[in-house]
Structure formats: structure tokens, C-alpha cells
Symmetry: C2
Subunit: 362 residues, 2 copies
């Protein structure tokens, strides 16, 4: 794209390139233009502009970054965070006069900011670099893999906690809270968690949020936990039977577990993403519906490149972190099993370590 500089504003990019993370669990702050923005001129300068209530939230150090703050919250005077953010951004971009072709993330930059920049720098070009950055982020370095490993450990804890706490008579939302408690106590902090936790018939629909439905004897529980530990995500899924599964259910569980194993064994540099998908899908054909991706990349976003899907011919590379989640959905129940792994030259390295087991005592 021949860009002179980048202005990055997505949560995923800010974490990946400035180790900055804003916990999005509470929604956007009413006193932020954006939590932060990162301006990068390759081989030259990185400026991290943050809301002034955010300065503890990045490990971006002053040796490698120029840190700048804009005024966010105020109570004695009306807040001016939009104006101050724009003013600071103008100063930052204005000090790099040679940088005119700027890559931005148009999905994660608010309209007011682009409108302001276009007016302030009428001769600049503003190129959407969102997809290019997403592709760049697919291969992780060792540091990033360590971050994801921690999130995977929290996901493991979630799956162990389901086996420990799941019992007939407890509601899905109650179980979810027992499970999340174990995950957050392990992490030592709040952890945003994307979670499917469904029981009984709802497992046939692949997922959903926990509700006040009571878990019954002979329900299955499908639990997909995707925790975000300080900006990096983990991912995991298991399906547990509360009672004694029948033979057909046991057979389906075993089949999905085999499909996951087939998928994991196929993870190696050079294989096309859709070949991994196809091998799992072939093993499950005829057993039920499997109407979603076979897997996806995981990093500072919970679903990123490489997508393990029928259309994606992209070859996998060493250092990619991939979640595989084969599934069989039938009329009355669904079973999905998932592991998270790094693509390595000598075979996949599992990041989630829990064992997929179908009953608490199996």
C-alpha cells in the first residue's frame, strides 16, 4: 500500500503494537473520544495518545514510545475530550510533515475523527489498512504466544470448573457465575468472557448466553469459554452430559473428539486452512449439522486470521495460533469440542490442556 504512517485505533491493534488495553466490558467511557490512538512512522517514531485517565494501562515505555495524553474527565468545567483529542492528534500528525499517506482502521475510527483529520490535512490520503493489519497479525511472536497461553490457562480453568460445579437443579446463569469465579480468581482480575453456556435443547442451536433455565438430569451442557486476559484471548469448548449418555450420544461425542484430533494433527506450516476444515468436516459428514467455521485464529481478537473455513486457501504458517472447534448439531442436542494450538514446524503445540470429557466422573 506504500503507506508513510499508520494511525491505529482498534483494540486489537493497540494491544498488539503498543501493549495497551482498555477493558471494554463496561462499554465506551462517556469521557473518551477514544481510549487511545497509536501513530506509527516505520523505523522512526511511535506516539501513543491516551485519555489522561488511562496512563497506567499500557506498558508502552517512554524509551520506545512517545506518550501523549488528552484531557478526558472533568467536573469543574465542561469536558472537552473531543476537542482535545483532535487538537493533540493534529499536533502529532503535523509534526511528521512527510507522512501523507496514512493507513487507518476505518471500522474502528469514529466519524468525527476522520472528518476532523480530512479537514486539518486536506492533502493527506487516508487508506483503510484494517484488513492488511489483520493479516499481518495472524503470525504471533513468542511474547504474544505467552500472553495467549495465560488466557488459555484461564479457559482450561473454566472447563474444569464446569465439571466441578455442573449439576441438575442449578440455573445456567448460576453455573456460569461459579465457573467465572474460578476463572477470575485464577487471573486475579476481571476477565471479559465471551461465553456460550447452554443446556438441554439449546445445545442443538450451537450456543447462546446463560439464562435462568435450570439444568436438568440428562441435559447436555455446551460451554464455550473465550476469556480475554489483559488483551489476549483464549478459547475452549466442551460438552458435558449430566447423567448417563446413551450409546448414540457417546458415539457422537467420540466422533467429534476424533474430528478435533484429526484437525489438530493436520496443523502444520503449508497446509491450506480449508484443508484442515475439510478433514474435520469429512469425518463428521452424515452425523448431523456442522453449520459454522471449523476454526479461526486467536490473538488480540477472538476470531481473526487464519479462518479455518471452506473458502480460505491461505496456507498456515508457523506461529499462527488457531482454535479448532468441530461440532455435530442434531435436532435434540449439539456437541462441540475445541482446543487452541500454535502451529509449529514440528507439529501443533496445544495451549489449552484440559481433557474433553463427556461426564463429570468419566
Amino acid at each position: 500500500m506504500g503507506l508513510d504512517a499508520m494511525l491505529l485505533t482498534s483494540a486489537g491493534s493497540l494491544k498488539a503494537y503498543a501493549d495497551y488495553w482498555f477493558n471494554f466490558e463496561m462499554g465506551p467511557s462517556p469521557f473518551h473520544a477514544l481510549p487511545a490512538a497509536l501513530f506509527m512512522v516505520p523505523y522512526y517514531e511511535r506516539v501513543l495518545l491516551m485519555a489522561d485517565d488511562q496512563q497506567q494501562l499500557s506498558s508502552a515505555d517512554e524509551q520506545n514510545f512517545t506518550i501523549d495524553l488528552y484531557a478526558s474527565y472533568s467536573y469543574e468545567q465542561p469536558p472537552q475530550f473531543i476537542d482535545d483529542f483532535c487538537r493533540k492528534l493534529k499536533l502529532i500528525l503535523g509534526s511528521f510533515k512527510g507522512a501523507r499517506k496514512i493507513g487507518i482502521e476505518k471500522r474502528f475510527l469514529p466519524a468525527f475523527a476522520l472528518e476532523y483529520l480530512v479537514a486539518a490535512f486536506p492533502r493527506h490520503e487516508w487508506i483503510d489498512a484494517g484488513e492488511a493489519i489483520n493479516l499481518l497479525r495472524a503470525v504471533k511472536d513468542a511474547d504474544e504466544i505467552e500472553h495467549i497461553r495465560k488466557a488459555a490457562l484461564v479457559a482450561d480453568m473454566g472447563q474444569l470448573a464446569v465439571l466441578r460445579h455442573a449439576t441438575a437443579g442449578v440455573s445456567e446463569i448460576h453455573l456460569f457465575n461459579q465457573v467465572r469465579q474460578d476463572m477470575e480468581v485464577l487471573a486475579g482480575c476481571r476477565v471479559p468472557i465471551m461465553a456460550d453456556l447452554v443446556s438441554g435443547e439449546r445445545t442443538a442451536n450451537a450456543g447462546g448466553s446463560p439464562t435462568d433455565k435450570l439444568i436438568s438430569k440428562n441435559d447436555m451442557i455446551l460451554s464455550d469459554f473465550t476469556p480475554c486476559v489483559r488483551g489476549y484471548w483464549g478459547d475452549s469448548c466442551n460438552t458435558v452430559h449430566i447423567g448417563i449418555p446413551d450409546k448414540a450420544q457417546l458415539k457422537t461425542f467420540a466422533l467429534v473428539k476424533e474430528a478435533l484430533q484429526i484437525g489438530l494433527e493436520s496443523l502444520k506450516p503449508g497446509i491450506a486452512a480449508n484443508e484442515v476444515d475439510a478433514r474435520m468436516r469429512k469425518h463428521l459428514s452424515g452425523a448431523g449439522n456442522f453449520g459454522h467455521h471449523g476454526g479461526h485464529g486467536v490473538g488480540t481478537a477472538y476470531h481473526e486470521h487464519p479462518r479455518i473455513v471452506p473458502y480460505n486457501t491461505e496456507p498456515l504458517k508457523a506461529g499462527m495460533v488457531v482454535a479448532l472447534e468441530p461440532a455435530v448439531y442434531r435436532d435434540d442436542y449439539g456437541i462441540r469440542l475445541e482446543h487452541l494450538a500454535v502451529v509449529r514446524n514440528n507439529g501443533p503445540e496445544l495451549l489449552t490442556k484440559f481433557t474433553h470429557q463427556f461426564t463429570a466422573d468419566a
Copy 2:
């Protein structure tokens, strides 16, 4: 502003005007341009454009709204959600040719969408109506107050749960999970919660997220719970002493409680927002630091108009929902107490009902 139509995209506006709510706890979906957008032509038409995985999430009915969907998630073909969202938006706006002056929320509309609209409708005007809408939303109707009442009940449960579960030797994050379990089980669903939960010295800094710090005998715990129940927020704060408070602490707690009572009693139509703030602040003067707002409106955003702050001369109106949160921060601890109330002609109606008590057995 003489607008012909509005295109609303903030979470707060979508809930207030279309009863649509997307749970933001997991961050934005990788398959959404936006969860939804609402196009309104006054007295004529309301079109709610949603991602096609969102159709269960609004109670907007087909009698009062035209419901439209754009394609979001896909796995057999590459997803086209940006293109499809823009295409649908163009069709919707194109069918109202007379509407050329469009109010938008420039903080909550992504750059790609405004860029597309400007190109597709070069003669339209795109006016930032964000602040005007925020001001409009300050007075709540009876339905909205019922929604906030439910969220306030969940906040009450949180404060009761602190008194029940807080004990020396438990970590802040563990306590938070015990408390949130009671809140979510009551709500019967996941509830995004903005929470300060700090103990000991950190209470002096007004707030923060729960960590793995263990709560000690003679710590205070400052717990500010702001739960979002299906799109409407509640708010509450209490400060609890784990042990036996000394006389100065008891005196400070009583002083803050009096300030809250003074603030609540002053809530009536016509009083200036900053007069409410000043009365609380005056009562606390000399007792310590109180370096934040005295209160704020609550609705589909957790901090909205009217701000109860020194600069805001805006008169309160019946139907405004206001949280008051006087506080005293000293070198070694801080005490903040908060209630949520509706401004009524005949005096404030409390929405949070818990009693502010300083010790579990008081």
C-alpha cells in the same frame, strides 16, 4: 437544527428509541459493521437495520418499525458485512428522497460508514446530533423508569451481597464474583457491571477494579456497582468497614450520609443541577477531598445529563433520573455513598432501596 431525519447508532440511542440492545461485554463482533442502526423520519417512518444474527434482540415490532437485516457472519463464502450494511443503508436513505439534512452521532458512527454515505448522497448534510440527543434523553418516560428500577434492584442486591460476603482473607476479585453471582442470578441473565471494588488504601483513590489483593481486618471496602440490565443502567455505592471503625471514621461516614440526604432532599423540578452539587459539597467541606462530580443522570448510558457538577446551571425536571454520590477521600481511606432517584414534583423517589451501613452487623 431543522433535521429531516436521524440515523442513530449509539448503544444508548438504539435502546432508548428502538428498544434494541447489544451486549457490549465481549467487545464488538468481528462480523458486524455495527450491531444495528436506526433511521427515523419524524412522524413518518422508523427503520431498524440489524445484523442478521441480531433479530431476537429488539422488541421493536413490525407495526411500528420497518425491520431490515444485513448479512453478517458467514463461513462458506467470505463475509461481506461492510458492503451489505452500506448497501442496505443506501437503499433505506434513498427511499426517503426528501430527507437531506440528517442528524447522526459522529462519536458512534464508524468512519467507513460516514465516508460511504457522503459519497452515496453528495448533496446531503450530515449534522452531529449526538449532544442534542443526549439532552433529549435526560427526561425519562414511565417505561424507561421501570427499566431503570429493575437495574436499581440488581444494584441493591449487589450492595446487600457485599455485606453478606465481605470478610477478611478473601480477595477483592473473589468477593466481586460472589457479589456479581447474586446480581446475575437475580437478573436471570448476564449483566455488564461497571464496578469499583477496592479495599484498604485504594479507597482513598475513589475507585478501581477488583484485584487479587486480600481484604484485611480493618480495611474499608468501597463498592460502586453500576449494572446494565438489558440496556438500562442502575447505580449505587456503599463503603463498608471490616472491623470496628474508629470515631473519626464513624463521623466521616455519618457526614457523607448526611450529605447524600441533603442532596436527595434538594432534588426537585426547577433547582439548578449545580445547586444540588453545591449543597452536598458545602456539607463536606473541610472533611477531605471530594474531587469528582456530585452526581449524574442515568439511563441508557451510565453517566448522562443532567450532570450534577459545579458548572451546570441546568434546572432539573420531573422525570430525570439522577444518581448522587457524595464522598470524602482522605490520605488513608475514602468513603462514598450513592443512591439513585427520580426527580418528582412531590420530592425524589428512590430507585435504589438498600440502606447505607458501615459495618455488616450495624
